[in-house]
Symmetry: C2
Subunit: 340 residues, 2 copies
DNA sequence: TTGTAAGCGTTATCAT
DNA sequence: ATGATAACGCTTACAA
């Protein structure tokens, strides 16, 4: 395989200069038809392909953007990335992905690396909480546009695309109340993260609005996995007055709870209703399908990409900052379908 | 935000030359301790960060690799990518992802683009079948290493990492036979793709080995989704002598079939056994959990990454080509657990 | 319309 | 041990 052809090779072949070749290739108006055709012909003949690296170095734009997530194989994140790539590929951008494994130091390094790679923007779902966000301060202050999605950090003048988690929590709880549930428990994942706090707040406000008491013992903090959910269910079912419903911020945790309730022969939805969060694929496939709040991840990715594009296009003129909040969509299934 | 600092800024500050700065930064042995320290100090002071783009142009190595898949949000592919990124990030590589949407022309363009971007390698699960692989001929012949994973194309001297689909099909079928099933149907997805053919072949060989007849009417070709699976089940259950088991190349198709069988009140596993392929997450969460063949996607990704690294490291000396075949792992669950 | 030359930020090859 | 210079492949004033 011979070396890759450059514009110099084309130039030499035609006994003209590289500048002319460049212009011809870029359809510069002030170039004769003849040379343009000649150049393009020899370009294909020599199988010339533009070296984007050189272009990037020259222009200062790499046409690469970085997407940073905890784990790429979580369905929520891979769906967001799907949306981002679908939106950005037609605009000539390449998507570089990196996983933080929810490790803060690693996240910092990744961001540094991406910036060194001269990415044109960074879309990130951060592992940091708002308490420690100052550690990222010097990064977001650089020229490279940052866009936070889902897990947002509150920096002034930084764009974000998030779900209306509060509304999701509110709707889910209200729905359970409408089903006649009176003692609704809540599975809370992580007080540190804004989005879980917001779902929790939605839950509390829905209770209050309906005149139901908020009972701290009905709130369990747990990891987002099946085993933890099972344990959480054990805990609340041991209470003197056990709940008759769960609104869970995690589908996986909820699944564990449902499994435990099944073992106790608690009938869902007749005696106990549950609603999850995330609309994980499995929720709809269970015999007793699980109601859940959908996060429209693909849409979120597309939106984040659009916000990025807007920001880039207006770079010179005004610095745009946009904070988009997407609606949460409660999907009612059998697990909370007492009435209908 | 001031412009990014370059080695020239450091040089100017210290009244030395950029070459010296470069050497100091790269820990070149022939540099005095003093200058090294001085340089490193001013580097941090000016918040200097190496521009990887310039380095890439100079060295001809971008430290980027391209990963090309049909859809990034399919759990199998996102898991493979997870493995790839986990393996390659510590080696200083960035992973660029691109989705073909199973569109062959798009795949071609993507590959062309990635090559223009000067990626150091391409890991791909191709949409092409071996019949049309010649269209990619001129691409794989370039200097950039190609590695096929899962969906492999048979090019001479091109590496690949695949699953032993034949063995997966064989084991699944054999297992069903051992459960006492006598009339095993097969859900086949796409005759064009090698891997489905191999699973099918494993199925046939297992039947033959056990002296069971191969009946063409027990083989249904279908799309990989629930509705198609439901239809397929309808078809085979209408046969004069309906089967008593299904080995399906698709978990989703199988789920549709299971749903239909439930409606017919066919008892699984007592009267009917099923085994799927892919070990989709939902298979283990169903009340009647579904047996399936696991593909170890994360492992596959890691392996593909390792093959790439090996190939790059020995670039100068020998051209390495490796064809790794990973074992398929049958996971037995309730849906085929008659005996135990 | 085309050529000349500088520059993007590095590193490598000469010298000194 | 350090400096000068060229080179990677491209674009773009400025000249002609």
């Amino acid at each position: 395989m011979s070396k890759k052809a450059t514009i110099y090779d084309i130039a030499k072949e035609l006994k003209i200069t590289a500048a002319t070749v460049s212009r011809a290739l870029n359809n510069n108006p002030k170039i004769s038809e003849k040379t343009r055709e000649l150049v393009q012909a020899t370009a294909t003949k020599l199988n010339y392909k533009q070296n984007k690296l050189a272009l990037a170095l020259k222009s200062g734009k790499s046409k690469n953007i970085g997407v940073v997530v905890p784990y790429i194989n979580r369905i929520f994140f891979s769906s967001v990335i799907r949306g981002i790539e679908d939106e950005l590929y037609p605009k000539g951008y390449h998507v570089i992905i990196a996983q933080t494994h929810d490790n803060k130091e690693k996240e910092l390094k990744i961001l540094q690396n991406l910036l060194n790679e001269q990415v044109d923007g960074i879309l990130i779902s951060s592992s940091y909480s708002n308490n420690e966000k100052h550690k990222l301060d010097y990064l977001v202050k650089k020229n490279t546009p940052f866009i936070f999605f889902d897990r947002k950090l509150n920096f002034p003048n930084i764009s974000s695309v998030t779900l209306n988690d509060y509304q999701g929590g509110y709707d889910a709880t209200k729905h359970l109340i409408e089903q006649g549930c009176m003692r609704i428990a809540h599975f809370l994942v992580d007080q540190e993260l804004e989005l879980y706090k917001n779902r929790f707040k939605g839950y509390k406000d829905a209770l209050e609005k309906s005149g139901l008491p908020f009972l701290p013992e009905y709130v369990v903090t747990l990891k987002s996995d099946i085993e933890a959910g099972r344990e959480a269910a054990k805990t609340i079912m041991k209470l003197p007055l056990p709940p008759d419903a769960i609104f869970s911020s995690t589908d996986y945790g909820l699944l564990g709870a449902v499994q435990y309730l099944n073992e106790l022969s608690v009938k869902i939805p007749d005696d106990f209703c549950v609603v999850g969060f995330s609309n994980a694929p499995f929720t709809q496939f269970l015999e007793t399908s699980i109601s859940s709040v959908d996060q429209s991840p693909v849409e979120m990715g597309k939106t984040a990409a659009k916000v990025f594009l807007e920001q880039i296009e207006n770079e010179q003129t005004v610095k745009i900052c946009k904070n988009v909040v997407l609606p949460a969509k409660l999907i009612v299934r059998k697990s909370s379908g007492k009435i209908n």
